[in-house]
Amino acid sequence: MAQDNGHNLDRDRFGAMLQLMHRIRAFEEAAIAAQKDGLVLGAIHPSIGQEAVAAGICANLDRNDLLLSTHRGHGHTLAKGADPLAMMRELFGRAGGTCGGKGGSMHIADFGVGMLGANGVVGANIPIATGAAHGLKLQGSDRIVTCIFGDGAINRGPFLEGLNWARVFDLPVLFVCEDNGFSATTRTREMTGGGGAGARAESLGIPAVAVDGNDLVAVDAAARAAIADIRTGKGPVLMHCRTYRITGHTAVDPATYRPASEVAAQRENCPIARLESALRLAGMADGDLARAHGEAAREMTDIAAQARDTDWPAPEAAYTDVQDMGDPRERAF
């Protein structure tokens, strides 16, 4: 239905969001290609098909607002404003990576733009995000925190503990369940009792809104409303965004546990294509649409090439950033 309003769309705003979605996808496509070339060193979890969540949420955040993400966090990180070159360098384990090559894809973070980290532990960022909001509130800040997690994460205890905490302390947190239907290779619904993320949030006293996560315009509208509420001090809100993971769990997972027909149908439901249709309806020219795609692809191919030409971190950096006290080098001898 939000789509029906296509002809009323603000072309500048949504054009920029289309561009961002293209950039996210192009970044991940470049990363997947680079992994085949042995350049990406560890596992990566692509968010291809899920870009509208990242773009629609982050468009409504200020740079100063904070964001915490998941193991599938490239899109969120880019949408929050991180430098894709630094990100690609991180995936390649190079100097100048967002984390100096120490973290890799699953620990990507850019505190400079308020992106407080992916996390390798499912659900672990829910309490941390809640605490970040707690910290902001204690300091009288008007910034808010957004915490994105997957549908699988709602079956971990920290989901309950974190949401309850956010309600009890009336914290400014937007919880976003990015529901792609899968917990790695398992269909989440088979492992989930009851009505899912929204029902659980409501049982904890947190208002919940469900949205088609492949409809950028809908995600944007819901995020705007939720964030406005949070900014007026109403406490936490949960958004449940239904989407689909087009790739396997990791870039190398063939995902044979789901029928090809299902994936094909979901490809038709691509959030980028859907936004393109809406923008076309709103009068955006085909040439402009194509340009957005082309530019993004070029940018990320370029970036991958630059990342490839970047130095490795100095081995001695392994001993820094551990802690102030004590000599981390201390071996037995």
């Binding site: 060193l41 560890g42 596992a43 991180e90 384990g93 190079r94 990576g97 984390c99 090559g101 120490k102 973290g103 890799g104 699953m106 620990h107 996390n119 390798g120 532990v121 499912v122 659900g123 699988g152 994460a153 079956n155 971990r156 205890g157 917990s183 790695a184 290779t185 398992t186 088979e190 492992m191 989930t192 546990y257 490795w312 971190p313 100095a314 081995p315 001695e316 950096a317 392994a318 001993y319 551990v322 004590g326 981390p328 080098r329 201390e330 071996r331 037995a332 001898f333």
Partner: protein, 328 residues
């Protein structure tokens, strides 16, 4: 005698024990699709969804439910995926599983095996690379096993499943693809017995898990140079095989402990301290440990390698131990 991988050896152990004993079952995330590494491949087809149970992403409940299921007469095999995620279930393992038999005055037992793949696996970074065997060795009530070869993974996992107390079973991710001979018939390796992976008289190297293989390579190099080291693979860390270790050190007079995990407060300290306490007067050189520095494990290879014990550092350490003593 067939050649197969460490991964398939573990898989075979599960199959054999599940066929032998209807009370054995396995639970964990994604087991129906074979588990993260394929250790459970095809098992759900063989044994059904009840005995090879897919679970929610609920590590605390996976571990806690196993405790309850063990108390009621089943023998669960818990799959933790990466040992790092077992940190989401420590109360359940340490406060509950390990202590229940004792706290309740021996009214029942908690026969369960907790499989936790450990170790560095290229560029897995800080939350997917840890080896915390020292923690478990410190906890009364737990048995701790670290298989290093396909045959041992077969024989030790079978013994672990038959054990009536909780066993923390730490397979090493880098060893999944390792090939080796597997005996054809029933193959049980008793818990608590070390293996002498290589005999020698110059230095006793005590090690476990993947480091066994690095030590053996170093030993070959040393052998070519005329130094024959004895490599003892502990296999079980609790109870560890004092007799084999002490017997060897009594012969060689020299001990090097080699571990992948952080050296500080690592299990190697237990071995080194025990030998220093018991065999001080037999030692021809100070005991010595090699392990990781006290740093989280990084993603970039050059950094990650700083946390690795290399063949070279083992060779250096052995040379140091056999060098004539110079003024301090």
């Amino acid at each position: 005698m067939a050649t197969d991988t460490y991964l398939n050896a573990g898989r075979r152990a599960v199959i054999e024990e599940m066929q032998r004993d209807g009370s054995v079952w396995a639970l964990g995330e994604d087991l129906g699709r074979g588990g993260v590494f394929g250790q459970y491949k095809g098992l759900q087809e063989m044994f059904g969804t009840s005995r090879i149970a897919d679970t929610p992403i609920s590590e605390a409940c996976i571990m806690g439910a196993a405790v309850g299921a063990a108390m009621t007469g089943t023998r669960p095999i818990v799959e933790m995926r990466f040992s790092d995620f077992a940190l989401c279930a420590v109360d359940e393992l340490v406060n509950q599983a390990a202590k229940a038999r004792f706290m309740f005055g021996g009214q029942m037992r908690v026969p369960m095996v907790v499989r936790e793949p450990i170790g560095m696996w290229r560029s897995s970074a800080a939350q997917h690379s840890q080896s915390l065997e020292a923690w478990y060795a410190h906890i009364p009530g737990l048995v701790v096993v670290t298989p290093s070869t396909p045959a041992d993974n077969l024989g030790l996992l079978k013994s672990a499943i038959r054990n009536d107390d909780p066993v923390v079973y730490l397979e090493h991710k880098n060893l999944w693809v390792l090939e080796g001979d597997l005996p054809d018939g029933e193959h049980l390796v008793p818990l608590g017995e070390a293996a002498i992976a290589r005999a020698g008289d110059a230095v006793t190297i005590v090690t476990w898990s993947a480091m066994r293989h690095v030590c053996l390579i170093a030993a070959e190099t040393l052998s070519a140079q005329g130094v024959e080291v004895e490599v003892i693979d502990l296999r079980t860390l609790w109870p560890w095989d004092r007799d084999t270790v002490f017997g060897s050190v009594q012969r060689t007079g020299r001990l090097l402990v080699v571990q992948e995990s952080v050296s500080v407060a690592g299990f190697g300290a237990e071995i080194a301290a025990s030998v220093a306490e018991a065999l001080h007067h037999d030692l021809k050189a100070p005991v010595r440990r090699l392990g990781a520095p006290r740093i989280p494990i990084a993603y970039a290879p050059a950094l990650e390698d700083r946390a690795r014990v290399s063949q070279e550092s083992i060779i250096d350490a052995v040379r140091g131990l056999i060098a004539p003593r110079t003024a301090a």
